[in-house]
């Protein structure tokens, strides 16, 4: 831990357990503390006049829960639904929100010193929704700031899918 950057990352407390999932070829990680449950894909009721990345609403044990499409949020191509497509229910800033992802991988321990601050790609690619880039399980994980993803922030997400 001689590297000062790594030390400061450690102090931000980013190290911990993460749920990893994939969108296409990219691996993402989200803090397990934000995850409430994982459910299989189900019929989603369309809601009019909402942003395109909001797929609609589902019935989660009697509660109406909105569902967003992370691919659409990051302006990636829409993928076909498969048996592996599922919904991660997270504790958002305004209640539970379902997040549709291609595939859930595993729960990983990512050490604080293995998480680097997000790189900058200039104006064409925003990394505002990343807390950092972690290395674990022999792969590179994009650590998501889920609050900002769900916060309705209108910052342009175009191109994030092409980061790696």
């Amino acid at each position: 831990m001689s590297d000062t950057t790594r030390e400061s990352n450690d102090r931000t407390g980013l190290g911990g357990k993460y749920l990893t999932f994939s969108l296409g070829a990219e691996d993402y990680a989200i803090s397990i503390l934000k995850v409430q449950e994982i459910i299989g894909m189900m019929d989603v009721t369309m809601v009019p006049s909402v942003p395109a990345y909001v797929r609609g609403v589902i019935n989660l044990r009697g509660k109406i829960v909105p569902v967003i499409d992370l691919r659409a949020r990051f302006d990636m191509d829409r993928a076909e639904l498969t048996d592996e497509t599922c919904i991660i229910v997270v504790d958002g800033p305004v209640g539970e929100i379902g997040v549709v992802v291609d595939r859930v991988s595993e729960v990983l321990d990512i050490l604080g010193r293995d998480i680097d601050p997000p790189p900058t790609f200039g104006s064409s690619v925003t990394t505002a929704y990343l807390l950092g880039i972690g290395k674990a399980g022999g792969r590179v994980q994009l650590v998501l700031d889920i609050e900002r993803v769900l916060g309705g922030d209108s910052a342009d997400l175009t191109g994030l899918g092409g980061v790696l």
């Binding site: 009721t45 009019p48 909402v50 609609g56 044990r61 009697g62 909105p66 305004v94 539970e96």
Partner: protein, 709 residues
């Protein structure tokens, strides 16, 4: 009043003046002048010379204050107050009283606080004045709110105990308020007086135990205020009622503050506290206060404190044998959600194909039995949300009283059906529009007494509120026996305001509904009560937002009746399930006039874009639900779909859908904060197959469609 007016009548006026004086603000010159006039008039009626002298002098002092010629207005006011108080005493005591008063008037202000600046009311007589004063904190008034040093024991109270105190106090105060209104009509009502005492007494006791000394002290003084009334030594006049009601309001607001007070934070005291405390001390007859301070001798309160019924009996406990349990509302909502889920699970179970098979017969019987129980459970859980309208009616009684006093009318308020139950969430939402309507009825509906007598009606007006269930709705009717609505005047006014084309012919109901138009007011003068041209349109909007409506019936010269119809609950919507593409929507049955399959001959277009359905000669604009909501795969040819006609007569619209799937009762749920309000959609519901269906708000939907067109 005539020369031979009875001593009783004189006493009644004096009591009234005494109490009004006590709550007066020193700056209110008009009110002081009014009192001075009343006293001057009264001197002509009084036979006893000492009493007449006192009243005359009090009148002169007040006149000076009103004219601004008094050297020290607060002292003159205080002197006048004591003179009137002395004059209200028994005429038999007049000699003695007169002497006492002379002595006191000479050093006016020495022992009585000024009403406006009484920051330390409990120490003015230099003697400990009650059992609670030892722990009474010092009050420092700065601006609207004063922060008070609360004794340490109030800061670490068990939150549960405080919570219990808040809800218990609320019940007692409500009972006291109701009793005070009863007393105003029938001053001799013993049970009502006892109820008021019990309320103040219990609040005082519990507040003292919990260390809320400001509340305890105020309740104590409110109790003391009414001792003369209870002992039959004073008549319960309007002034007493005002003061006691103010005390109820103040205690209520203090108790509310105590309830939300964070642990370790001192109780904040509203600005009106100190003046009220001073006012409560003032109107005491001389027979109870031969020497200053004696009236607050704890021993003197002994009989009063013992007299009320045991304080642990909740108000009204004697009259009903029902028992109650308090439940947190979030738990109730949770129960509703879970029962709703159970109903859906049951529906999925009973439609399972296995039940219809050869081996399923026995299972099917068992599932049906479970289904019956589930339905009963569902009905019961819905009933748990229902509360009677009683509280709302009581609030209205107070509004009638206060408004009638302010506009100088005599109005009697009667209620019927206050046990009618309604969804707890609707109760609060209904109160605001009703307050407005009640004020309007008193201010605009009921005529001044002279006009009433001239047209052969009793001088006092009547406002009547009645509630009952009708189908799935609750009806609340508000009637007055006032001047009624004049259709021609309303129309003339609307034309003048540009709301109606000149020469238009309106039905009676249409003319009456004009009063709900924004900017429409029939009152010629603007009062502080109503008549500013805002209000009735807000009333209609508020009631429509509860899926309700207001109708008006009126006969000129005989009165007006407003009929408010709102659903029993917003939680349940009777709806028609419709299909558009792969999506399903619920259209509330209340909005639907008719559904039909259009044939080609009834379909017209306007300039190639706007579509119309002609129904019985009436051209109705048609909107495609699929297009408004952007649903893929909806039918393109209207003759292959169905139209649902929604809206009021003469202003209805047609919604094109693919198919009708049947009627369904659904539990309305919010779509959550992330999605927020969606135009054209009032909420969501879980359908029989467990999927979510959106509930359409037809009016908003059509507004949206028109915008897009």
């Amino acid at each position: 009043m005539t020369k031979d007016a009875s001593q009783d009548a004189i006493s009644a006026v004096l009591d009234d003046v005494a109490a009004t004086l006590a709550c007066l603000d020193g700056d209110d010159a008009a009110a002081i002048s009014d009192l001075a006039n009343r006293l001057a008039l009264l001197t002509g009626e009084i036979e006893a010379p000492a009493q007449r002298e006192m009243v005359a002098r009090a009148g002169k002092k007040l006149r000076k204050v009103a004219d601004g010629t008094a050297k020290v207005p607060s002292e003159s006011l205080a002197a006048a107050r004591r003179l009137v108080a002395a004059a209200t005493g028994c005429p038999a005591l007049e000699g003695e009283v007169s002497g006492t008063v002379e002595a006191e008037v000479d050093d006016a202000g020495a022992w009585e606080p000024n009403p406006g600046s009484a920051t330390e009311p409990e120490s003015f007589d230099g003697a400990p004045n009650s059992s609670t004063s030892s722990e009474a904190p010092s009050v420092s008034t700065t601006g609207d709110t004063a922060v008070v040093e609360t004794p340490a024991d109030a800061l670490d109270n068990d939150p549960e105990l405080v919570h219990e105190f808040v809800s218990e106090a609320h019940e007692y105060l409500t009972a006291a308020e109701r009793a005070l209104l009863v007393l105003e009509a029938t001053p001799d009502d013993r049970p009502a007086i006892d109820t008021v005492f019990r309320a103040f007494h219990t609040v005082k006791g519990v507040a003292a135990v919990l260390g809320f000394s400001q509340i305890a002290e105020l309740a104590h003084r409110a109790e003391s205020l009414l001792i003369p009334v209870r002992e039959g030594k004073a008549r319960f006049g309007t002034g007493y009622a005002n003061l006691a009601l103010r005390a109820v309001d103040m205690i209520r607001s203090l108790v509310e503050r105590a309830g939300v007070m964070a642990q370790g934070v001192p109780l904040s005291i509203p600005g009106g506290y100190a003046p009220l405390m001073a006012a409560l001390d003032a109107p005491v007859g001389p027979d109870e206060a031969p020497t200053p301070g004696a009236r607050v001798d704890p021993n003197e309160h002994e009989p009063v404190e013992k007299a009320p019924a045991p304080a642990d009996a909740p108000p009204g406990a004697a009259s009903t044998a029902e028992t109650w349990v308090r439940v947190r509302t979030d738990r109730l909502d949770q129960l509703m959600d879970i029962v709703g889920e159970l109903v859906i699970a049951q529906a999925m179970l009973s439609s399972d194909g296995l039940l219809a098979s050869e081996h399923g017969r026995e299972l099917s019987r068992k599932v049906a039995l479970a289904g019956k129980t589930v339905r009963e459970l569902h009905d019961l859980s819905l009933a748990l949300r229902m509360v009677p309208l009683r509280g709302t009616f009581q609030k209205m009684a107070r509004v009638v009283r206060d408004t009638a006093r302010r506009v100088g009318r005599h109005v009697e308020f009667t209620t019927d059906g206050e046990e009618t139950e309604i969804d707890r969430k609707l109760v609060d939402a209904l109160a605001d529009p009703l307050v407005h309507m009640v004020r309007n009825a008193v201010d605009h509906g009921i005529e001044p007494a002279d006009d009433r007598v001239a047209s052969g009606k009793p001088a006092g007006g009547t406002v009547r509120m009645r509630a009952y269930h009708a189908g799935g709705n609750v009806m609340v009717e508000l009637s007055d026996d006032g001047r009624g609505l004049d259709k021609d005047k309303l129309v003339a006014r609307a034309i003048e305001k540009g709301l109606v084309e000149p020469g238009a012919t309106l039905s009676e109901q249409e003319a009456f509904q004009l009063i709900f138009e924004p900017g429409f007011s029939t009152a010629k003068t603007v009062t502080d009560v109503s008549g500013r041209g805002v209000g009735m349109d807000v009333v209609r909007r508020a009631i429509e937002s509860l899926s309700g409506r207001v109708d008006i019936a009126s006969t000129p010269g005989r009165g007006t009746t407003f009929m408010v119809r709102i659903p029993l609950t917003l939680a349940i919507t009777d709806g028609m399930l419709v299909r558009v593409g792969a999506e399903r929507y619920i259209v509330p049955t209340a909005n639907i006039r008719i559904t039909l399959r259009p044939d080609a001959s009834s379909l017209k277009t306007v300039s190639g874009r706007g579509e119309l359905v002609v129904l019985r000669g009436e051209a109705i604009p048609m909107f495609r639900l699929g297009r408004v909501f952007g649903v893929p795969g909806a039918v393109d040819d209207p003759t292959q779909g169905l139209v649902v006609i929604v809206g009021e007569e003469h202003s209805c619209s047609a919604l094109l859908v693919d198919d009708l799937l049947g009627k369904q009762q659904v539990v309305t749920k919010s779509l959550g904060g992330f999605i927020g309000r969606v135009p054209g959609v009032s909420g969501g519901a879980i359908l029989g197959d467990g999927r979510v269906g959106l509930i359409v708000d037809p009016d908003a939907l059509i507004a949206l469609a028109r915008q897009a067109a």
